[in-house]
């Protein structure tokens, strides 16, 4: 009489039945469902708040610009005078400033990221942009604690679900002596382990598929483009890989006793999800310390004084380079201060940008360190990928800042020559002032930023599977 190995479906169905019978399964899945729902609800509330804030800004801008346009029309017949110049400065100043708004990304509820501290809008006018950027007024105490956002739940708390489902996978049976009996059948330990892992991985897969879809469903604008669908899919893949990595890790760290499995599982979670990223943070701060922030204020002071000294010289050079903009007999003479003021602001912005570059350099060094470190820390890789997909990563905000910079330059190219050469703004000129056009990051850029994270998670999973295989071979039932 020959024994046939039980089929995969039999093994998996049997395991699924056992899994459902355990209280730990229901406790862990219910707790995680609750946490995920909480994270999604908080994310939805956050994006709704963001949306309402942007609507208020746009309404205010529309009313303000309409009022200014009426003033331009009302003064159209008046001869060019100092009042006209005041109107020109109003167009370039607070009355005519334009907002560069970062639109709410479709998966914004996924990760707070930079939205907690970085500006989501810039007010563009002839005074330098940086001075008018408005970081959120969040309670600093709350920033110190952090939000219970979905990225935190998925990166830090979610691993506890696969660890709970996967710990004691074989050790409970080993302790009870059932494992030897099972392995006396024509079935290998690896096959048994994989069959045990399969229903658990199924649970992980369900969560991985549902959560990104739920995040998209609560976004203010539920438009579904191929780019958004691709982001949702990428997110699903990343979550599945991350979850299965922890599941395999839970199975791999199994020892002889289920009680030691619990300790090892907790220790591995604390090490990988908490201590390692925190230690890497310390290492980054140690290796690439940022200059003291006092330097930025002092740089502003120095560039302000420098600007005060050379602004008239800069204006002279400007008129030499752009003779058509220079004041002539047919143009009303403004005071030198008017032109100097524009040059003065430009010079300050240049000085500040130079001081900022030292900080950016160190931040880039840290980013480079992260690009290597994520291969040793799956939580870091996932968090980075989630922020990229949610468009709330430092890179996504840098993309927005660059667009705001470009818009500022475009706006100034239009505004500054007209003001310096004393051309009075007409209603047609006013309507032709460039407006901010948002170009979302192309999907290929997002995919390129996410790909190394995906590779890091794949590598981590491959390593965990290899370790599981090696340990399985070494360990006698």
């Amino acid at each position: 009489m020959s024994y046939r190995a039980p089929s995969w479906s039999v093994l998996i169905r049997y395991e699924w039945m056992l899994l459902r019978r355990g209280a730990a399964f229901w406790l862990a899945t219910t707790a995680f469902c609750g946490l995920a729902l909480l994270g999604i609800a908080f994310g939805a509330a956050r994006t709704a708040c963001w949306e309402s804030s942007q609507e208020t800004l746009l309404a205010e801008q529309e009313a303000r610009l309409q009022d200014l346009r009426n003033r331009v029309i009302a003064t159209a017949d008046q001869p060019e005078s100092l009042n006209t110049l005041s109107l020109n400065y109003a167009i370039g100043g607070n009355d005519g400033m334009r907002y560069a708004l970062k639109p709410i990304p479709a998966l914004a509820a996924l990760a707070v990221g930079e939205t907690a501290t970085a500006p989501v809008h810039y007010a563009i006018q002839y005074v330098r942009k940086e001075a008018l950027m408005a970081p959120p007024l969040t309670n600093p105490h709350h920033l110190a604690i952090g939000q219970l956002d979905l990225s935190f739940i998925l990166v830090v708390l979610y691993p506890l679900l696969p660890l709970t489902l996967g710990y004691g996978l074989l050790s409970a049976e080993r302790e009870g002596g059932i494992l030897s009996l099972t392995l006396s059948q024509p079935i290998s330990q690896m096959r048994l382990t994989l069959a045990k892992l399969a229903p658990r991985a199924g649970v992980i897969l369900v969560f991985s598929i549902v959560i990104p879809i739920a995040v998209w469903a609560v976004s203010p604008d539920r438009a579904l483009s191929s780019a958004i669908a691709a982001r949702v899919f990428l997110c699903q893949v990343l979550l599945a890989l991350y979850g299965v990595f922890w599941l395999v890790l839970a199975a791999g760290i199994g020892g002889k006793h289920a009680s030691s499995d619990a300790t090892l599982g907790a220790a591995s979670w604390v090490t990988l999800a908490i201590l390692l990223p925190s230690s890497l943070n310390v290492a980054a701060a140690f290796l690439y310390p940022l200059p003291p922030t006092e330097e930025l204020s002092l740089a502003t002071r120095q560039s302000t004084e420098q600007a005060g000294r050379i602004s008239s010289q800069l204006l002279k050079e400007y008129f030499e380079a752009h003779p058509d903009h220079a004041p002539g007999p047919d143009k009303p003479a403004y005071t030198a201060n008017d032109g100097n003021w524009v040059m003065y602001q430009e010079e300050i912005a240049r000085g500040e940008a130079l001081a900022r570059s030292r900080f950016r350099e160190q931040v880039q060094n840290r980013e480079q360190m992260i690009s290597v470190a994520r291969f040793f820390s799956p939580p870091l890789a996932l968090w980075q990928a989630l922020e990229e997909l949610a468009d709330t990563s430092p890179a996504a905000f840098e993309h927005f800042r660059r667009q705001a910079d470009d818009y500022e330059a475009e706006w100034k190219r239009y505004y500054v020559p007209r003001t310096l050469s004393k051309i009075k703004f007409t209603a047609a000129d006013f309507d032709a002032i460039p407006t901010f056009r948002w170009n979302p990051r192309p999907l290929r850029v997002v995919a390129a930023a996410t790909a190394p994270c995906l590779a890091a998670l794949l590598a981590a999973l491959a390593f965990a599977l290899w370790a599981l295989k090696v340990r399985g071979r070494m360990r006698a039932p």
């Binding site: 946490l35 909480l38 908080f42 509330a45 708040c49 804030s53 208020t56 607070n94 930079e114 501290t117 970085a118 500006p119 007010a123 408005a134 970081p135 007024l137 600093p140 105490h141 110190a144 604690i145 952090g146 939000q147 219970l148 935190f152 708390l157 289920a258 009680s259 619990a262 300790t263 907790a266 201590l275 990223p277 925190s278 230690s279 890497l280 943070n281 310390v282 701060a285 310390p289 940022l290 003291p292 922030t293 006092e294 330097e295 930025l296 204020s297 002092l298 502003t300 002071r301 004084e305 900080f359 950016r360 160190q362 840290r366 992260i370 470190a373 939580p379 870091l380 968090w383 430092p394």
Partner: protein, 485 residues
Amino acid sequence: MLSAFSTASQTMLVARHEIRCLAREGRLRVVGVVTLLLLVSAVAVSLRQSRVQQAAHEQAVEAERADWLSQDEENPHVAAHHGTYAFAPRSPLAFFDAGVSPFTGISTWLEAHHQNLFENRPSDDATTLDRFDALTPAFVGQVMMPLVIILLMFSSLAGEREAGILPLAFAQGAPFRRLVVGKTLGAAVVLLALLAAPVSLAALLVFTVAPVESTSDLAYSVFLLILLHLLYWGIFLFLSIGVSARAPSPRVALTTLFAMWVVVCWVIPRASVSIIDREIPVPSAASFQAAIAHQLSEGIDGHNPSDQRAEQLKVKLLRQYGVSRVEDLPVNFDGVALQESEEYGARVFDRNFSSLWDLYRRQDRLSTVTSVLSPLLAIRPLSMALAGTDNDSHLDFVRAAEDYRRRLVGFLNDDMIRNAGSAGYQYHAQPDLWRRTPEFQYRPRVLNVRLAGQTASLACLLAWFTLSAVMAVWASPTRNSHRRT
């Protein structure tokens, strides 16, 4: 007397036994080494940063004052627009608990007409790594130490029950409560031995970065910080003993305590922030600035003499001095108008900033209420207050800087009022005026003021300590319940 002696000696016997058991276990060595490594690296890196920041602060203050004094002959109002920077001092204990400092900005520009927001926040240059908690000594003490305690204590009674030692102890007449007290004492001694050296060293090192005049304040703060953390660790010690006493096996004890740690140290603090932000929303920066701009534009504008309020002021002054022309006034009208503008602006800023800070305060009060769910939310504000890195300490500096701005601009306007005459904005003051301007000096709040607003958090921490101690003793199984198991 004999009975009391016997009780004490039995308790000490249990404590000694617990110390021996913990010392024998490999777990203590692993946990101990990891904890010490974490603590030492956190202290070393934080102290290094603290020193660099302290030096940068001193240099910046000096450079800014030198810049102010180096102004040439200038109109006082131009000097008021030149302004000066106020740099927030770094508390010597910020190395232990950075608190809100990375998120508040380190300087503000003090200039005429405007109360500016603080700028140049260290958090502006965050990377993805900063999403994870920073490894500061406060993080190790408040988040990781509870886990260390749990890992050391989860099997203290549950393990003995599983090994069958507990019934033997009962059979020999060991009262359960004495057992609990003895085990708690033993574990406390082990923990103290583990932490005594790094904590003492860090406490001594902090005096090397502190100004001499604040030494006694600092000594009390360090003492209270240690005391409060001992109290906080005591909570987890009692909870661990209580759960270990009730749990049927060490595995159940560990799972329960670990889940409790995750909820108390990770979920509740962050969930409370998300809920409070939703319940008590703060205005967006755009609407906050727009409200101030709108209210200011409604008021007097010091640069615009055609302003309606300026006109009213002119009429009032002419009547007051009995003259018919501004030129005949014995004071400079521009200076008076500027000062009126400042005073009006001050009312606008006070109204708006006060309402923002009131919102922060309401949020913080609600956060204190949620500390009934997590002792971490009780110790965190206490620790930040003792370290001088809490919201109130920051707001105190903001108020002092704004107060100085108003005094400085008032001083310059006063010079213009008295000396500008008909020259108005063409009047140039001598450099001597810059030397006579008051220098900005800020004294951080003393300890009792810092702690005055923390009564609720302290009460909460004490309540947690008392309740967990009661739970450890009361939740312990009686002999009968043990026999049933």
